[in-house]
């Protein structure tokens, strides 16, 4: 998976182009307002994507703890409502904590380091192949078995329609 450019980088590029290339050509006030709204919505996506999964997991664990705490604070209170809270604390609040997701920067950094390791290994295998090492061919095949599916995934993620924009 290519993690560069980040989603925030791409959105920033779109925002710059909207402001510089599109906005000056937009004639009606309504359309200009739409561009401003689009800019704002794009900004929220840029801010949301890198933290969304981490925030959701943290909040899930906080919610289960909160449901349990609320139930405990009611002590031996009686009545349907209290029973309902106790029951909810056991069901929804009874699950194991979900493991925390590392930050975007942490995942991205480690992914990049490992990917560079794959590239460096290609270079080393090339050296071995050129020196006639018989085992290197099988090792290269194994490396390509890893590269192949990730490339296909990448292709799926980055393919948008056919052809190249603006080219007849």
């Amino acid at each position: 998976m290519l993690t560069t450019p980040s989603i925030a980088d791409v959105i920033e590029g779109i925002q710059i182009s909207l402001a510089r290339d599109i906005m000056p050509e937009v004639k009606s006030q309504n359309a200009q307002t739409c561009v401003v709204m689009i800019q704002a919505l794009l900004q929220t996506i840029a801010q949301r994507v890198p933290v969304e999964q981490q925030m959701m997991v943290a909040e899930m664990n906080q919610m289960t703890a909160t449901l349990r705490d609320v139930s405990a604070l009611l002590g031996a209170s009686a009545g349907d409502a209290a029973e309902s809270i106790r029951s909810r604390a056991k069901t929804l609040g009874g699950g194991e904590d979900v493991p925390a997701i590392p930050s975007y920067e942490e995942v991205n950094g480690t992914h990049r380091k490992l990917s560079q390791g794959i590239v460096d290994t290609l270079e080393d295998l090339d050296t071995l192949l050129r020196s006639g090492n018989a085992e290197a061919e099988g090792a290269l095949t194994r490396l390509r078995q890893h590269i192949a599916p990730r490339t296909l995934q990448e292709f799926g993620v980055y393919t948008v329609g056919a052809g190249m924009a603006g080219r007849g």
Partner: protein
Amino acid sequence: MEIQLQEFLARQWPDADLIEIEEFAIIAGGYSRETYRFNACISRGEIRQTMPMILRKDPPAAAAILDSSRQMEHDLLHRVKEHTDIPVSHSHFVENDPVTFGEKAMLIERVHGSGEPSLLFHGGANESQAESVATQLCELMAKLHTTDVSKLNPTGELSDPRNEGIDVSSWSNYMDSTFRYYLRSYERMAFAPLPVFYDGFLTLRRNRPRELPLVLCHGDFNPSNFLYENGNVTALIDWENSHVGDPREDLGWLALMDFLTNTNILGSVKEDGGFLQHYNKLTGFGVTPEEVNYFSMFSGANIGIPVISAVKRRLSKEHDGLMTLYILLPAIQSEMVFFQCLGYPMPTAGDA
């Protein structure tokens, strides 16, 4: 820009009484250069002449996806016209002073014809012209590749147009020096680790094909770089990446771009049994489909290196153009061509 054009043309044609610029408009879709269309209307006494022209201008250096010379392109267009009957635009002027138009530029004839190859294929309005146009493209490529290279490159400037140490003294030296250029350029283009491209560069070096004579390659022989009308190719355009190289480079690049632009030029020739067979009959080169695959990667690297390097400069914020961000998409799609040419194993359950 119209005023600059008017003043520039007035300097070139001092005998004109009046020069007017009409119908000036930007042409969309030029990825490497900024192109504008206009009519230059020249009055000399009672005579008024209208010349359809194109201003072809360099982008700012940091945003350029291909660093090429307008002077070189201007000179080459003249030589192609002089030594072949390949249809090309007449290049009227080259302006190397960036002050005039903001960057270096050239003014060329605007040739008539459609620049919409997509209309030739997949049920498009011009589908009936596809076979004829594709056959002519094949023949024009063969003609270029069989033209004496010394006539098209008399001063040697197309031997190493990027000044990367390419040695055209023999086919073997050409390949070796090009591999060195590709491998040392990887760092310049790797905005992230790009294992498929790097694997491709290394594999190219390990598996060189048989030797063929070095010729002048168009360098960007792709489905967007020709104009056509009534089943005829009216011009081959965009000669900026021309260089002395292996003739299979143009074949490989056309195959790659046929895939990327969703056209079918290679599949539209019937004469002699197909594009490659027809080309081989005309040139005697005997190119195989495997060699076309090899040179799809080879020429993919040739153009990919400057293009993806521009993407890297964009991502490191040396400039902020949208196009260099967008061009990341076809660049990644071109990985698939490398993928296929390298014969990557198709994934099965459990692969990781």
